[in-house]
Symmetry: C2
């Protein structure tokens, strides 16, 4: 049975021209330094991992595991899964805490510092900076993820998986970037992100939470294109593979409101449950991706949570999220899927500290939040549950980067041969670390922390060097011991910088030198919203405004 | 059996003149406001508590529980008992984590902002500011705890307990303040604190960690009394009730060193184990107090922990502490005491942030540390274990102040009638909260946070007002929501200050007004070291220097 599957995979692999089963995956420099030191042990571990995975498939009708990939939005480290820290803030997330007890906490899990790059890293297994996707856009922008990236659902689809995406996508407003064109059989997603959807609407403007298109003095207004009207932008679309997308839930002339945002969130939750039911009926293993827009929320207009624990918009939405996760975990049980489905649950970056006073929540253990390259921006709660395969109620503390989930999940799916061999893959296969529940089995000990295309920090082991801005004397570079000083408040350069700083810079140097061989590329560009078959008239006008702005620089 | 005990207690109670079994305990104003709202429920709960305690005694040969009171020094919140936070810092405290799983975490446990006042509050059940004990001294000072305070071991001793104290005491260098003169049958303790003992010694001076008596340019030195020689100060003493104290472990002319400090710490650990064995053989219930000087430590001279997880003096000593706690818990098991012994394990104040860079550890969840009245200074890890009586692996999140342990432990010992009725008791009886494992059963919702004799903050529910310094416009007072903002970074005055600030000030106002009825008193004063029978010649000289300094202001 197992041989049949591998055979069918080998055939479909031909479609991914770059993949070659026997060629090694091309990695960044630090990987080879570790490999030179651990090759023998790794080979031994890999054989054991293969055996464990084969045993699983044998007990699972020859099929690899289903995968449910839940990525949540803008949540602070420690907000979920630790009852003691819940208590400090006076709320409870019982379903996620229970889930954490059933799975493994990856206690040193790094993301990129904001939504788009984190999602790109998880999907492509590559640093967003390599592909011009380190930055993000709130409004109509005309760029996105390159179609020639070979993303996780593409690999899994090739490997025989049924694939679905529900919720936030946020990797571009152009057709080639969208999930249904990148390996997903079906997708329901908003074109933009929670900025537009949760607060950049009439309610948010009325509450003074954002600047926008209705809070200005019209008599001085010359440029009607400057302040976009978010109600003219495309909101949520749905599409099946090979079909045009359709906007849903908005009529021509309708206004986008906080209430509609709440309805959208509820719809994605419902569609996730529906998708589980659809996928459970199929013969194929499945990959279901649910990327809720919660817990971030910052308008009070539709708030009905005054009696929830200790108020605060953020906590209210986190409890909503927790209730929804409870529904999903219960549905997995009900459908008999809990045992053969890997559930990955993680945050996408740190807390949105800009909203801290209004949202009633601030960063706690680490300094900074979303957009920062301090640990508060890039350390997230991350759990993975795979009953019988990954230790329950465990903690694994070696370093993970969100991109590692790419190789690791693909390995669990038995599809490593489909990973492209013509580009650097930053993702590290961390199967052994998870299956053996052993920090010593980790294969990553360093990370280049980018802010967009600028490397801002280098992490190796427990040490972190803040890369000094150009022109600043590197001898004063801030150097931290992250175990000693979680909040990066006490630079240790004077004590250990004598050696450390220089070697840290060499880690970065090797990374940059390797870009000579494998240069960065630009993100894809295109006409926004092309490929959506039911654009509203006001949306067409908004795209026209975007075209005028684009043309202005080429006159 | 129970009646006999109560009878014998009633007789010995006569010795504590102020106690009167039927008179209510005199509390601060906020207590009566809560009592007016909950009297009926409290009476019902109290009856249930009494029944539970009676049932326990019945199953325990008519005796109330033993009590082991472990108070550790200068530990940051979250450093102990939460494996997820251990992981973030790269170390493990398995014994304390295990203990936490067996007991109840009091997740909102407040101390005073430094060692001496916290210990005074726990021992006397009263704010240190009421008795001139809000401050502390490192060197020879001639003051301490008043003999007329009725402290916890005095009450328990009167109630028939065998009582012992081992380790840090730090409530004065005068005879009337010492444990053997305040209810303890036997005590082994250092006269001063970890400042003198761990770093204010020849090794600390050599390492440049402190200023001291051997790092100055002698040719300008006129005042040989200015820089005390810590080796001339009394170090550790031992004494039994009614006997003179004797200094141990120092010969005339000997120097105090980091090595001797390590030996002292080991001695206290050994004496705790010995004491358990002595007490286990007796007929009486026992109260054993072990106040280690660890984990704070800041000289490298005797450091042998280079191979412990992630280095750092603080972590090394915390792991030492954890190993020692493991020994103690194992000894309780071995002696068959685990089931009928309450173990209270708590920190005495926040992390010593001044040592952060050198010690390799900094505050994490809350802002600030020792000496600060931000939460980082006064929130500590606190656990209580009482098998079968207090829920295992529980979290109780209502507010506790360290003084509450006074009434609560005395209640558990069945000796509430021995608490004095002639003074304000700040301690609140929190028996119901612990025995019912129910935050809703808490009887404290506010705290005046003193820094020495100055009220610096007022806490009520989740709100905290920083009292503005004299002369500052109170309308700008910083007001925080502690659930939303653990680090007190985002004042909420503009949002909710309209009502809140004023009422918070009234909480303080009632507290201060009540001092008109029950005025604060001064700490006790006296001749340092009087009552130690083997003072070294150099110590006698050092006391003479102190006398010259004292006389200088009276010329």
């Amino acid at each position: 049975m197992r041989r049949e599957i591998i055979l069918s995979l080998a055939i479909s692999a031909a479609a991914l021209g770059a993949a070659a089963e026997d060629a090694p995956i091309i990695q960044d420099a630090e990987f080879y330094i570790l490999q030179a030191q651990h090759a023998e042990q790794w080979a031994e571990d890999d054989a054991a991992v293969d055996q464990m995975l084969a045993d699983f498939r044998e007990q699972n009708d020859g099929k690899p595991p289903n995968i449910l990939n839940i990525l949540i939005d803008d949540v602070g480290f420690g907000d979920l899964g630790i009852p003691e820290l819940n208590a400090i803030r006076g709320y409870e997330t019982p379903n996620i805490n229970q889930f954490s007890d059933e799975g493994m906490r990856m206690s040193r899990f790094y993301t990129e510092p904001s939504c788009t790059p984190t999602r790109v890293a998880q999907m492509t297994g590559r640093f967003p900076a390599r592909q011009g996707m380190g930055d993000t856009a709130v409004d109509i922008a005309g760029f996105g993820l390159r179609g020639d990236e070979v993303i996780l659902p593409e690999v899994l689809s090739e490997a025989g998986y049924a694939t679905r995406h529900v919720g936030k996508w946020h990797m571009g407003d152009i057709e080639q970037s969208w999930p249904q064109n990148n390996g997903f059989d079906w997708a329901a997603f908003p074109i933009h992100q929670q900025g537009q959807l949760s607060i950049f609407n009439d309610d948010g403007i009325k509450e003074g939470v954002v600047v926008g298109n209705r809070d200005h003095d019209a008599k001085y207004m010359l440029d009607a294109f400057f302040r976009p009207d978010s109600s003219t932008m495309v909101t949520g679309v749905e599409a099946a593979k090979g079909e045009k997308a359709r906007e849903v839930h908005m009529e021509a002339g309708e206004r986008w409101t906080a209430k509609k945002y709440d309805e959208m969130n509820q719809r994605y939750q419902d569609q996730t449950i529906e998708s589980l039911n659809v996928l459970a009926k199929g013969d194929k293993p499945f990959f279901l991706q649910y990327w809720p827009l919660l817990p971030l929320h910052n308008t009070r207009s539709t708030r009905d949570g005054y009696d929830s624990a200790n108020g605060g918009l953020y906590v209210e939405k986190m409890q909503q999220l927790d209730a929804w996760m409870g529904e999903i975990f219960a549905e997995l049980d009900k459908l008999g899927l809990a045992e053969n489905t890997i559930v990955l649950f993680s945050g996408d970056n740190g807390h949105f500290t800009k909203y801290s006073p209004q949202s009633g929540f601030s960063a706690m253990i680490f300094r900074g939040g979303k957009a920062d390259t301090t640990e508060g921006g890039i350390r997230v709660d991350a759990f993975i549950r795979w009953p019988g395969m990954i230790k329950a109620d465990g903690i694994v503390n070696n370093m993970f980067h969100v991109s590692d989930m790419y190789q690791t999940l693909i390995r669990f799916a038995g599809a490593t041969h489909l990973i492209p061999r013509d580009r650097i893959i930053d993702s590290i296969d961390q199967s052994a670390s998870l299956l053996f529940a052993d920090a010593g089995k980790g294969r990553r000990d360093s990370l280049i922390v980018y802010s967009d295309v600028v490397p801002e920090a280098i992490i190796k082991d427990q040490l972190k060097l803040k890369v000094p801005p150009k022109g600043e004397n590197p001898i004063g570079a801030k150097f931290y011991n992250l175990y000693w000083d979680t909040r990066e408040e006490y630079p240790i350069s004077t004590e250990v910088g004598a050696w450390g700083g220089q070697e840290m810079v060499r880690v970065l140097g090797r990374h940059l030198a390797r870009k000579q061989l494998y240069p960065d590329v630009e993100h894809a560009t295109g006409i926004p919203y092309e490929g959506i078959e039911n654009l509203r008239p006001e949306t067409i006008k908004a795209v026209d405004a975007w075209k005028i702005k684009r043309a202005a620089v080429q006159k």
